[in-house]
């Protein structure tokens, strides 16, 4: 049984509760999600090789798309580049920041009555659900939704979807660690021989939160208490972790993201990836059109493009992204491996997961020396 199957019911419960709350407690300055009548009643049209409810001519007339994204600069620019290539008449611009900072920024703007953004991508389900509760997303059901399992869409459908999954195992430098000494299971990251030479991510990372939550669920509190003794160095992005790993500054990283592994392997870095038998921890990357978007047709068109096989192929093969696609008909990743080939671990209960955020931040910050 995969992580998807295990977690569906509880996550849905959470999302349903979220959507109910959205009606009851709209935040000042937020629009209640307006159902786009046109989007729901008009027959979808085919653009390039995907279906859309957006009026492409109007989207081109709007001429712009403003994107807020958690992804790094090169990755964010890469997403925009893919969309612009297919729709050159729509000029794209973006702001990128870590999910926490980005979410805070959009909340501040909207509470001040500013609506400058069309689409937002976050790396953590918790703020996405919170945003949904606050009526931050436009309700738009893409004709491409049929290619996604319900678990990978918001409840109700139409607020956001999983544009990809970022799975992580363990990675090590082959010059510093022999294959015999290399970690094989999650418990091996506790080995004292890696003390002071191991890296992790900062508490702002959605994936780090997922890893902390899942391994704590699986192995108990003691696991991270032991890990605290390893004196791990924490960094902002997956690229920094692999950059240090490739240069030998660290022996292993306790959260080696598969997309970064592919990127660095292609550069000839002496790094190897380990998929522990208990599974890879994984976080969804959430995309949704926001309410009161200044370019509503362009935002719908982008959502359809991103959900489409074409958009997903772009996300999956761009070297700065390499997201694993959750489309049911997704092709393999550049390594020939499909996301579904991995055993993925998600939080069993997304509601409980969201509630432990403060505990995680405090514990993790202290663990990394903050």
């Amino acid at each position: 049984m995969t992580g998807f199957d295990k977690n569906s019911l509880t996550r849905r419960t959470l999302l349903k509760a979220g959507s109910a709350l959205a009606v009851a407690t709209p935040l000042i300055g937020f629009a209640a999600p307006a159902v786009l009548a046109q989007g729901q009643t008009k027959s979808p049209t085919k653009v390039l090789d995907f279906m859309t409810n957006a009026d492409v001519a109007k989207a081109e007339q709007e001429g712009q798309l403003v994107f807020y994204c958690h992804e790094n600069e090169a990755g964010t620019a890469g997403i925009m580049q893919g969309f612009s290539k297919d729709f050159p008449k729509i000029k794209t611009s973006y702001v990128r920041a870590q999910t926490g900072a980005l979410y805070n920024k959009i909340l501040s703007e909207r509470s001040a009555g500013r609506f400058d953004v069309d689409v937002i991508q976050l790396s953590d389900l918790a703020p996405a659900v919170d945003f949904q509760k606050k009526g931050g997303y436009e309700h738009y059901v893409s004709p491409e939704s049929h290619a996604y399992k319900p678990d990978n869409l918001s409840t109700p459908v139409g607020s956001f979807f999983w544009t990809g999954v970022d799975p992580a195992g363990i990675a090590y430098n082959t010059d510093k660690v022999s294959s015999a000494d290399a970690p094989k299971t999650w418990h091996d990251i506790l080995n004292p021989k890696f003390k002071g030479h191991i890296s992790a991510k900062i508490s702002a990372s959605g994936l780090q939160f997922v890893q902390w939550y899942c391994l704590r669920e699986m192995y108990g509190d003691k696991f991270w208490k032991e890990f605290a003794k390893q004196n791990a160095h924490a960094f902002d992005s997956r690229v920094q972790l692999f950059d240090r790993l490739a240069k030998g500054d660290d022996m292993i990283t306790s959260i080696g993201e598969y997309p970064a592994y592919i990127l660095f392997k292609s550069k000839g870095a002496k790094v190897e990836f380990v998929a522990p038998p208990d599974g890879l921890v994984a976080t969804p990357l959430i995309v949704g059109a926001v309410s009161k978007a200044p370019h509503p047709e362009a935002s719908k068109l982008f959502v359809d493009w991103a959900m489409s096989k074409r958009g997903q192929a772009w996300y999956q093969t761009n070297p700065n992204l390499y997201y694993g696609s959750v489309r049911t008909d997704a092709p393999p990743m550049p390594t020939g491996v499909k996301l579904s080939d991995f055993k993925l671990i998600y939080p069993k209960d997304w509601d409980e997961y969201a509630k432990t955020r403060d505990v995680f931040s405090k514990e993790w910050n202290s663990m990394i020396g903050l």
Partner: protein, 563 residues
């Protein structure tokens, strides 16, 4: 012919007008910052629902971070002042060979950006992968002979790249100093060293004190160096801690704001002490007596001084740039290059990214705008604080100092909240960044201009006044011409500071108003150190070209009074 009219009313109007502008620029965001520091309710709900002091008591949970910050800031300030004073004395007061060229080169570390310096020194001096340590091990050594990830390694890099402003501030004062005072000392039999310590040093005390306060505040707010070099060693200072707290979800902005406001208390005390010291003595060196700026002939010692200049610029300019150039042609930066590791892809990518195009153009435009608007506002503020007898002028200094006392990363939150609700839609545009830059650089500009202004004897203005000159006339014909060299230096300083600004921009730039330094930091976070090195080099080249043009223009302006 002197203009007539009511000098008092013009003075008052100008004084209170400029005070009002400064107050709005600073106090408007400060209100929101204080509000956040006292907000103990839901961090995501604005305006706050509950107020209290819990955020301040929460700071005490981070004693190690406070100690780290103090250690690094004090060490870096001392290093920067020593470098700044020695280099300023050599280049402004001695006949060291090639001093004009060295003087121009001294500005280079400042506009290279601390991020570039940190990145380069990280490549050079990291204990494991640092090029110097790789070479050391290759020739038979073991371990690491240099480690820039230690507190003093961090302070060294901060002093080199953040502290070069100390040189600019101290040199500006030294240039305005009558050399006859030093000559008199030597005629009376004092040695060069004794003259430097007993005459030059006391005369430049206001400049040094101003620079010390400014540099210390700069070090307290330093972000990029501590981020690049401190994080790998689990060494956090207040700014990197604030960054982590504001980036996480939900962000702990209230704690960050409380940390920022607490720093202001420290700076308030320092500013108070500075004013006491300055008021206690007379530091006037430009008087009605004419003098021609001259330099001292130091004989053979000049070659030793030349060696110091070369070493300094090697560490702060040549080595970092060459290191980054070397790294930019590699897939994975290593000390010993191989053919299969060579690539031009970093340059291809750098040129195709937004950062290398629109962001760079925006940065240059903003640099020009900030320097030009800033010089007028800050010149008037310096006059208001240090020259006018208007009531409340002293209080304005405290207001002006505030942005320097609070890390720009934190102050930017106050500005964001302030300007996002402002009725005129400037949020997310270059106008907001212009306002932000003028605000955060008020202390830099005012301090630089004030250091020179305080050396101009009031009797010159009073003499003009006695002859019947109005305030506007004597300002135009006496004060400003005497200030021109200082104003030119301040203009260039503001230009450079704006182009390399990071803390405020990273939060305030919008999708259509990107600037270069945050883009480089983003690159460091998310691409690779090799691509980041390339971007930093591209930025350096473009800014260097702009600087060549600007220095040529400003030299002509600066040369006019002596013509």
């Amino acid at each position: 012919m002197p203009s007539t009219g009511s000098p008092l009313s013009v003075q008052k109007m100008a004084g209170y007008g400029v005070a009002a502008v400064a107050a709005v620029l600073v106090l408007y965001p400060v209100f929101y910052l204080l509000q956040a520091a006292l907000d103990v309710g839901d961090p995501q709900v604005r305006p706050p629902t509950e107020y209290g002091l819990d955020n301040f008591s929460g700071i005490l949970q981070y004693p190690q971070i406070l100690l780290n910050t103090l250690t690094v800031s004090v060490a870096a300030t001392v290093m920067a002042l020593v470098f700044g004073f020695v280099m300023a004395w050599i280049l402004a007061r001695t006949n060291v060979p090639g001093r004009k060229i060295f003087e121009q080169l001294m500005a280079v570390p400042y506009y290279l950006t601390p991020l570039l310096g940190a990145l380069a020194w990280s490549l050079l001096g990291s204990p494991e992968s640092g090029f110097i340590n790789q070479v050391w091990r290759a020739i038979g050594g073991s371990g690491a002979i240099i480690d820039v990830n230690t507190p003093y390694g961090i302070a060294w890099v901060m002093a080199l790249f953040e502290g070069s402003v100390a040189f600019v501030m101290i040199a500006a004062v030294m240039k305005s100093m009558d050399p006859s005072l030093e000559e008199a000392s030597q005629v009376m039999g004092a040695s060069r060293l004794r003259t430097m310590l007993r005459v030059t040093l006391p005369l430049v005390t206001p400049g040094i004190l101003g620079a010390a306060i400014f540099v210390f505040a700069e070090m307290l707010g330093s972000f990029a160096v501590a981020l690049v070099l401190g994080t790998p060693n689990r060494f956090y200072v207040i700014t990197t801690a604030i960054y982590q707290l504001t980036q996480q979800y939900p962000p702990k902005i209230q704690t960050a704001a409380a940390m920022g406001v607490s720093l202001f208390a420290v700076m308030f005390v320092m500013l108070f002490l500075y004013r006491r010291v300055v008021k206690a003595g007379s530091y006037v060196t430009i008087t009605g007596k004419a003098f021609r700026p001259r330099v001292a002939d130091v004989g053979a010692l000049r070659y030793f001084l030349l060696g110091i200049c070369v070493l300094y610029l090697l560490a702060a300019v040549a080595l970092p740039i060459l290191t980054l150039l070397f790294a930019s042609f590699q897939k994975i930066a290593v000390a010993f290059p191989t053919a299969d590791n060579f690539t031009l892809n970093n340059f291809r990518m750098a040129m195709s990214m937004n950062a290398a195009r629109s962001a760079l153009g925006n940065s240059l435009l903003l640099g020009f705008g900030t320097a030009t608007v800033g010089i007028v506002l800050m010149g008037l503020l310096a006059w208001l604080i240090y020259r006018s007898r208007l009531p409340g002028a002293g209080a304005i200094e405290y207001v002006v100092m505030f942005p320097q006392a609070v890390p720009r990363l934190v102050f930017a939150f106050g500005m964001m909240w302030a300007w996002v609700v402002f009725p005129i839609p400037i949020y997310g545009t270059l106008w907001l960044l212009l306002i932000a830059y003028v605000t955060v650089f008020l202390p830099l500009g005012v301090r630089t201009i004030a250091s020179v202004m305080m050396q101009i004897d009031k009797s010159l203005e009073e003499c003009a006044q006695m002859c019947g000159a109005s305030w506007t006339f004597r300002t135009r014909t006496v004060t400003v011409p005497l200030l021109i060299p200082g104003l030119v230096a301040a203009w260039l300083l503001l230009f450079i500071a704006s182009v390399r600004e990071l803390g405020a921009s990273i939060l305030l730039m919008g999708p259509h108003s990107k600037v270069i330094t945050p883009a480089i930091v983003e690159s460091w976070f998310g691409t690779s150190s090799e691509l980041t090195a390339t971007l930093a080099l591209v930025q350096t080249l473009v800014v260097a070209a702009a600087m060549v043009v600007l220095v040529a223009v400003t030299r002509r302006i600066g040369a006019q009074p002596g013509d």
